[in-house]
Symmetry: C2
Subunit: 248 residues, 2 copies
Amino acid sequence: MPGRNQRKTAEPLKQPPLADFKVGVDNVIFSVDIAQNRLLVLLVMRQQEPFLNYWSLPGTLVRQGESLEDAAYRILAEKIKVKNLYLEQLYTFGGPERDPREATDSYGVRYLSVSYFALVRFEEAELIADGVTGIAWYPVKQVPQLAFDHNKILTYGHRRLRNKLEYSPVAFEVLPEMFTLNDLYQLYTTVLGENFSDYSNFRARLLKLGFLYDTGIKVSRGAGRPASLYRFDAEAFAPFKDKPLIFI
Amino acid sequence: MPGRNQRKTAEPLKQPPLADFKVGVDNVIFSVDIAQNRLLVLLVMRQQEPFLNYWSLPGTLVRQGESLEDAAYRILAEKIKVKNLYLEQLYTFGGPERDPREATDSYGVRYLSVSYFALVRFEEAELIADGVTGIAWYPVKQVPQLAFDHNKILTYGHRRLRNKLEYSPVAFEVLPEMFTLNDLYQLYTTVLGENFSDYSNFRARLLKLGFLYDTGIKVSRGAGRPASLYRFDAEAFAPFKDKPLIFI
DNA sequence: ACAAAAGTGTTTTTTATACACCCATGC
DNA sequence: GCATGGGTGTATAAAAAACACTTTTGT
């Protein structure tokens, strides 16, 4: 029974005081530049202290009456215009020492960050540059030192993305509506590294699953035989939902 | 640019007020009763409003200077004595409507729950019954209606456990130090369902991996040939760390 | 002796991996 | 015509799944 640390007051068993929190939401927003085969993450330049003029993940503090997810969508909408996207919760970072404001701000207020992981289509995502705020797609391999513990959050998000690619159809959230099988393959190699699978085997496996619809439209990328454009068929994929699918 | 919803005050671009949070930690603590082949979850009876006399996941509010994980360990230590355990963060639930206190309590305070997922050995876990608080291992198949959104959290935790079993050695955190291969197999069937694999194939696969050490000690469970007791060899497992191991 | 549980082995089927080769286009 | 990227097929190896069979105990 927890008998220590009690304050000696009139009330029996008075516990140490509770922490008061402000809750922030930070988004790790990924996108893939098919043309240059680079995995990108959206960063914004901070306009206030702390960490003024540091790059950071786009984030915000949760407002009254707003759910965590609402907040995540709100910052997203403030930073980019996008048709559809994939969003899921990542992790909650909440150590008492992660935000310097905890020391300087009004007494005892803690800052907690619930991070979200998002995927958007590079071609469809239009950055909202207001002329004041710096905002940019950064290749994940070249991100600088970020504000707060955002590098840690980004690393965590990147790992989640790699895992997701292997067992879920997130790739099709990032690709344009129509894509060649090589686009898909490049996406996988970009995120997962060179040696994850042979192209022809990758191709055969994916096609056998039967949820890639060949539009018949051919597209030529410079020299070489033109490639077919495929479309992800969500209905045909439905039976695979929740099953231990492997895209490797 | 977010130009709506501003309050018309002296400051330019005054945003809607931020929410103030108390942060709770709720633990989904699993254990397996080898003898009866049941997956158990630890529940406590609530002693206060709201949800007085409802069963709930053991939880607490985070105190000043305390990290989320510290808080998770604290409740755990208040409820059970246990030698070693596995603990990881699960999910953060934070909609504005999840806790009725938000309406009745001091104005505007939101309650957010960071849930943790824990595994303990049934034999080694000694429940701390203080004579006042109800506390019990419940078979997950028979949990009643719980306080708050705890049923949802439990479901989420259960799913995580099933996934973990398939690609990580968590099973050995729940089993006693020494166990028969049949114990291990039963654990998997208990959590994953009947038809996940043939016993002899399961057995062959696990043994081939080489991190199960046969102690040579035999133990007889009623009729039939006595079984060997095995021990999980953490060192021999090390090379498999982070690799896409499959226990199926 | 026989049922029950433990443990071994063999066969079949499926899936992964490597790689050879044909096809259509630009230059 | 030949380099380039797209696309198909095949041969081999490995792993998963099904299941038959042997061993050792309690009763």
